[in-house]
Amino acid sequence: MKRTFLLLAAAVLASAAVVVAAGAAPSAAPGVTAKTILLEGTFPLSGPASGYAPIPSGMQAYFSYVNKKGGVNGRKIVFKFEDDGYNPANTVQLTHKFVEQDHAFALVGGLGTEPQLPVRQYLNDNKVPQLFVSTGATTFDRDWSQYPWTIGWQPDYEAEGAIYGKYVAKNFPTAKLGVLYQNDDYGNDYLRGLNAGLTAQHQNMIVATAPYDLSSSPPAAQVAKLKASGADTFVIFATPTPTIQSYVIATKLGWKPAHVITNSVSATDSFLTIATKSGSDLTNGTLTVNYLLDPSNPIYNKTPGMKLYRQIMAKYDPKGNANDGLNLYGVAKAWNIVQLLQSLGKNPTRAGLMKAARNMNFTTKAKKANPFALPGVDIVTRAGDQFPISQVTLVQYQNNVFKPLGKLINGRGA
């Protein structure tokens, strides 16, 4: 017994000593070679959030298209994405791999609030760009001075919630709102925005709120509670799967709200189609917002952006569903990344990339608007405003297409 223990102790100490002695780290050029530039990101291809899987496919399709045309300043973009299953522990390990083993130039489009939060400090410590995270959580844009290597892209959830608040206060002043929201930062951002948009004067329009947990079963009890409250306007601030379930549950309960408002993350044509096919008759008339061209609506088919999008999808992602707006989201984001890379010239640096991201001016006025965004949507960042996209338009789902209602609204404006 004693001999074994001594042996053990000696072995442990010896191993620790040798390991410590081996500390020095090799340094490598971060992701840029004479012919390539390496971008990487984590996305949920499995697990509860795998509905977002088309986003990286769309990005990949656009990068392939750019590479075919000669790449960026003579370099081909190599885009690698990995499945984190929406588990932050996986995101952390994969992000270490991108930085320490693959030496990616930048991490792009990383998806999800909770998965992207724990790698934010790590990436900022290592001065690796965490560019255009695929989440509208307000913190990624608002806290830019604390995390200079991190920036979001899409309109933030709070601003979107505020737009719904303003809209109902103006257009349905007598409505009674029943709000279903995900019991986390995501749902709370939306709810806070809604309250702000309603202003104190219309606060009593909300007659019931019901939080649900992503990991628990379908939100049946919550929807029943909202119905019982007498609400006539169903507000859904949920991720795709619970949103689809909510539509079906509300129908099965025989609830016939006059209006349904659903956050833009979940109110895409593909998710609403699933809800309809699963037996819900409430999808028609759904109100949401949009800021990108909508591939499911034929009115955009004549625009140059939609034509280009369909060409790219047909050629570089033929198995993907080109009518799924998430693909277009990926393409539009990739367009923005390519624009930044191009502006860096022959010798791109990580610091240069962030500087470019902090001073974007992709506007109609400058004749450099994102072709895949709605006409008039500007992508602007400058000192003091690090929210790249703030304009949206309200749209209504009618007979399987989203009809725009009126003009663009700036969610962060007064």
Partner: protein, 343 residues
């Protein structure tokens, strides 16, 4: 003749632990730190499942309790990272004992189902008390910093910490399964009637085994939180509990050394081997290997293959090669018995 294989194995492990970071990138070193962490958890679960014959589908949550203990002590009470590890173990061990008391009234698959409630309840509790646990958004530890005062890479630092603790815990596990106590544990697994007839309190042994295994998982969880630098409910999904049990079975239930292989599997199948195999399949069959859920298919196929080739886990395979015994019945029976009984 029994000693050499175990000593050789331990010696080889120590050499491997020392050499690995010399030959690895920082990222691989980081991954091997997780292997050490999973090894601790598997050693604990193995005491319950391999030696005492009780199946648990809840030990991922015990890792979670340890991880939250460490995180809350560090973030909210300013403790030193390393000092939290024994507390994480003791708190989790206490929860394990408390759960062991009623749970041991169940046997076999009924116990497995009862333990399945642990990760489910754990996630619910985390979300119920957001002020204490951080809710869905979780809690963030500051990124790893070496406490050696040298310019040691953080990945190397967590590797050293994890493996020093893992080798210590391996020694603890070894002492636990020796002698009278170890015999009593195994007697519960092999025949409860015979154990009782010999004066062993089967309920007492099962409860103790639960507590000890939870202690191991708590320590592993504390290290896990330090390595991931973040905890939230998504970090401890139900899959983790299942994966740990799979790790024990693949490594070889009832073998301490086999847990090293189980830990390698748990770490690498999701992050490294699964995607690599997928790419390979993609090249051969031109299927869309990025389709949602395809990684799960690979994971299932690998699991079935390994169980087919080596029903007693890697440890059984190694023993079979080392002893040169060919007869399936001869090598499979003593080792695979606990796993097969319950499966």
């Amino acid at each position: 003749m029994k000693l050499p294989l175990g000593y050789l194995g331990f010696g080889a492990l120590v050499v491997a632990v020392v050499v690995t970071p010399l030959l690895s990138t920082h990222y691989r070193t980081f991954q091997f730190a997780f292997v050490g962490i999973y090894l601790i958890a598997l050693l604990g679960l193995n005491i319950l499942t391999g030696f005492t014959g009780q199946i648990s589908l809840g030990h991922g949550a015990f890792m979670g309790i340890g991880a939250y203990t460490t995180t809350i002590l560090v973030v909210d009470h300013g403790w030193n990272n390393l000092l939290t590890l024994p507390v994480a173990g003791i708190v989790t061990g206490a929860v394990g004992l408390a759960f062991g008391l009623p749970a041991t009234r169940f046997a076999g698959p009924y116990l497995a189902l009862a333990t399945f409630a642990i990760p489910l309840a754990f996630i619910g509790v985390l979300k119920r008390f957001p002020h204490f646990t951080g809710g869905t958004l979780g809690k963030q530890l500051s990124p790893l910093r070496s406490e050696l005062g040298l310019h040691t890479n953080p990945s190397l630092w967590i590797y050293i910490v994890s493996w020093v603790v893992a080798l210590l815990m391996l020694a603890v596990a070894w002492f636990t399964v020796q002698g009278r106590f170890g015999r009593a544990l195994r007697s519960v697994r092999d025949s409860e009637i015979a154990a009782t007839a010999n004066g062993v309190s089967t309920a007492g042994m099962k409860t103790l085994a639960f507590g000890i295994s939870a202690f191991f998982c708590g320590v592993a969880g504390g290290l896990f939180a330090m390595a991931v630098t973040f905890v939230n409910p998504d970090t401890f999904p139900i899959d983790l509990s299942i994966l740990l049990l799979v790790g024990v079975v693949l490594g070889g239930a009832g073998s301490l050394g086999g847990m090293v292989f189980g830990a390698l599997f748990v770490e690498f199948i999701r992050i490294t081997w699964g995607p690599a195999l997928l790419d390979l399949f993609g090249h051969v069959h031109h299927i869309n290997t990025r389709a949602p859920g395809s990684s799960l298919v690979v994971y299932g196929v690998v699991l079935l293959l390994v169980l087919y080739v080596a029903p007693a886990g890697v440890a059984g395979l190694v023993r079979r090669v080392a002893t040169g015994r060919r007869s399936v019945a001869a090598w499979a029976k003593p080792q695979a018995a606990p796993a097969q009984d319950q499966a």
